[in-house]
C-alpha cells in the first residue's frame, strides 16, 4: 500500500494519459442524475456526484450481453454449432466508483466465480477492471452502508481509494493493479504514509457522522428460515408493491439474468439479460403453474434472499451494501431498512 497526492490541476492530463492503456468508465451527468458510463474522449468523470441512479455493476455485468452465436445457414459446415462471442477484455478502469459498489462486486463474485463454475464473461471482465473508488465525504440521506459491512471510506474490493481534499486528491493505492493505473496516469507524488492514514481516518469519521440511518442485522442468523418465511408481516410489507422491478435493477448486488435467443437473417445470438424476481414471469413454468404467483411471495423472496438465504449460505454478511438506491427509487417507498429491522426483531409468538 502506498499513498499518492494528485494536484487537481494535473488530474485531467493524467486521466487522458491513461487512455493509452485503459478504456475509462465513470460517473456522467445525464439531465439531473448521474450514471456510470463509458467516458468518451475528453470527458472526465463527474466526481462531484452524490450517488448514481444505477450502480456500477453493468460495467462487469451488462444489462444485455451477447454470449454465444451460431449460423443457421445449413450450407455452412458449422451450422447450428454455438461458439463464444469474443469479448473485449482489454484493461479498463472505473473511476469514481463508490466504495459500496466495489464491495458489491465482491459479493457478486461469490456467484459468478465458484469452485464448480467460473462464468467467463463476468470473471474476465472483472479481472480486466481496475476499480478506482472515491470516498464519500458527505453521505446522502439514503446511505446506510456503515451497517452493512462497508462505509463511505471502505477500501474492500478497490484497487485505489481517492479522497477528495478540495484542491487535490489523496490516493490510497491498494493493489498492483491500482499502482499500474496510477503509474499510467503519471501520478507519482508520494505522500507520507502515517499522515495519509491519519487523514483517511479523520475523513472516514467525519463522513460516518453524516450517516443517520442504520439497520440491525445481528439476530438474523439465529432465526430459522421457516419462522421468517411464515412470519405474519409479509402481506403488509408487500401491499403497495407494483412489481416494477426497479429495486432489483438498481441494486449492485442483484445478479439474476435470463437467457434468450435472437435471430437476424441466418445468424443466431444468445443473450443474457438482467431478470427480476419481482416479476411473476420469473418463476412461471411452462404448465402455467407458478410457485411464486403472488406479490407477497415475490417480495418475501427478495428480502429473504438478501437478508437471510445469502447470509446463511455464504456467511459473508447480508446481500446488501447499504447504497440506498432501492429505497430512493422505489415508486411506493418500500424500504429495505424497515424490512430488515422488522425481520431482525421478529419473535415468533408461542
Amino acid at each position: 500500500m502506498k499513498f499518492i497526492t494528485i494536484d487537481k490541476k494535473d488530474w485531467a492530463n493524467g486521466i487522458e494519459k491513461s487512455r493509452g492503456i485503459y478504456q475509462l468508465f465513470g460517473p456522467v451527468k445525464d439531465k439531473n442524475e448521474f450514471f456510470i458510463k463509458h467516458l468518451e474522449k475528453d470527458t472526465l468523470p463527474a466526481m462531484e456526484y452524490d450517488n448514481s441512479v444505477m450502480s456500477a455493476k453493468s460495467i462487469i455485468f451488462p444489462q444485455t450481453e451477447k454470449m454465444l452465436t451460431a449460423t443457421l445457414d445449413e450450407s455452412q459446415e458449422d451450422h447450428h454449432i454455438m461458439k463464444k462471442i469474443e469479448t473485449d477484455d482489454t484493461p479498463r478502469a472505473v473511476i469514481g466508483i463508490r466504495p459500496y459498489d466495489a464491495k458489491a462486486m465482491k459479493l457478486l463474485k461469490l456467484n459468478f466465480d465458484t469452485d464448480d463454475y467460473r462464468d467467463p464473461y463476468w470473471c474476465d471482465a472483472y479481472e480486466a477492471t481496475t476499480f478506482v473508488g472515491l470516498g464519500i465525504n458527505k453521505p446522502g440521506p439514503f446511505d446506510f452502508s456503515t451497517s452493512t459491512g462497508t462505509g463511505p471510506f471502505c477500501d474492500d474490493g478497490l484497487d485505489v481509494l481517492l479522497a477528495d481534499l478540495d484542491d487535490k486528491y489523496l490516493a490510497k493505492v491498494l493493489t498492483d493493479k491500482g499502482a499500474a493505473f496510477v503509474g499510467a496516469c503519471g501520478f507519482d507524488t508520494v505522500a507520507d504514509e502515517k499522515e495519509s492514514l491519519a487523514l483517511f481516518d479523520i475523513l472516514r469519521k467525519e463522513a460516518e457522522k453524516n450517516i443517520a440511518s442504520h439497520i440491525e442485522t445481528d439476530k438474523l442468523k439465529e432465526k430459522t428460515v421457516l419462522e421468517l418465511h411464515e412470519a405474519p408481516f409479509w402481506d403488509d410489507l408487500a401491499f403497495s408493491c407494483i412489481n416494477c422491478g426497479t429495486c432489483t435493477y438498481v441494486c449492485p448486488t442483484c445478479w439474476c439474468f435470463d437467457i434468450q435467443d435472437e435471430v437476424k437473417q441466418k445468424e443466431s445470438v444468445r443473450l443474457r439479460i438482467w431478470d427480476t424476481c419481482m416479476s411473476p414471469l420469473f418463476t412461471r413454468h411452462a404448465t402455467g403453474h407458478n410457485p411464486r404467483a403472488s406479490k407477497t411471495q415475490r417480495v418475501r423472496q427478495r428480502f429473504m434472499h438478501k437478508l437471510k438465504y445469502f447470509l446463511d449460505k455464504y456467511d459473508q454478511g447480508i446481500m446488501c451494501v447499504g447504497c440506498g438506491r432501492c429505497v430512493k427509487s422505489c415508486p411506493v417507498n418500500i424500504d429495505i431498512r424497515e424490512v430488515c429491522n422488522i425481520m431482525n426483531s421478529y419473535e415468533k409468538q408461542a
Binding site: M67, L68, I81, M82, P120, I259, V263, R270, A286, T287
Partner: protein, 217 residues
Amino acid sequence: MENPYLPYPVRIDDIEIATEDKSLKTFKFVFLNKEDEEKFSYQAGQFAELSIPGVGEIPIGIASSPVEKGFVKFTVFRTGVVTSHLHNMKVGDIMGIRGPLGNWYPWDKLENKNVVIIGGGFAFTTLRSSIIYMLDPANRNKFKNIDVVYGARSPGMLLYREELFGKNERISICILRLMGPMIQIGNTIQALFPLLLNRMPQRPMKTHMPLSVALRL
C-alpha cells in the same frame, strides 16, 4: 475452466414417440465430438439444458443412464416455444446440450438397502435413468429389493413401458387403481401403501394419478 454456457454440439440420432397421445417424444443424441461425451459425465438424476440455436434452451431431465454409452436420451413433453420446435425436428439435425446440471440420487447411501422408486407422469425420466443404472449387472447386487411404483393418467401415458416393464419376465406388472381395491406386491410396497394412502389428500388433486404400476425388479 471451460465456458459453462457453451453447449456441446449433438446430432439427433433417433426420435421415438413415447406416449399414446404423441405429446411426449424421446430424443436420442450422439455427440459430434467423442471427447465431449466424456466431459458430459453424469449421474442418474441429473438434468441438462437442451439448446436449439436461434430458439432457446430448456432444462430437461436425463433419461438415459450413465451405464448406457455412446448416446444420451431425453423425453420431452410438447408445451411451448422450444419444446414444440424440438418436436418438429428431424433425425440428423444438429443442436446442443450443456451440463450435466443439478443433483443426483445418493447412490452410496442406497447400497445394501431395499429401494422403492415412486414416480408419476413424465417426471419418470430420471427414474428410468436410475432403474437402468441399478439393474446394470455391475450394480444390481449393490441393492436389495428394487420396487417401483409408477402412476400415469392412463396406461397409454406410461413412459418406457415396453422397455422397462414389458420384456422383463421376472417381474409382474399390475395396474392399480389407487382409490379402489389393489394388488400389492412385495413386502416393502405392502408396508408402504397404507402409508401413502393415508397421506393422499381428500380433496381432488391437480395431478390425477388414477393408474399405477407396481413391480419388483
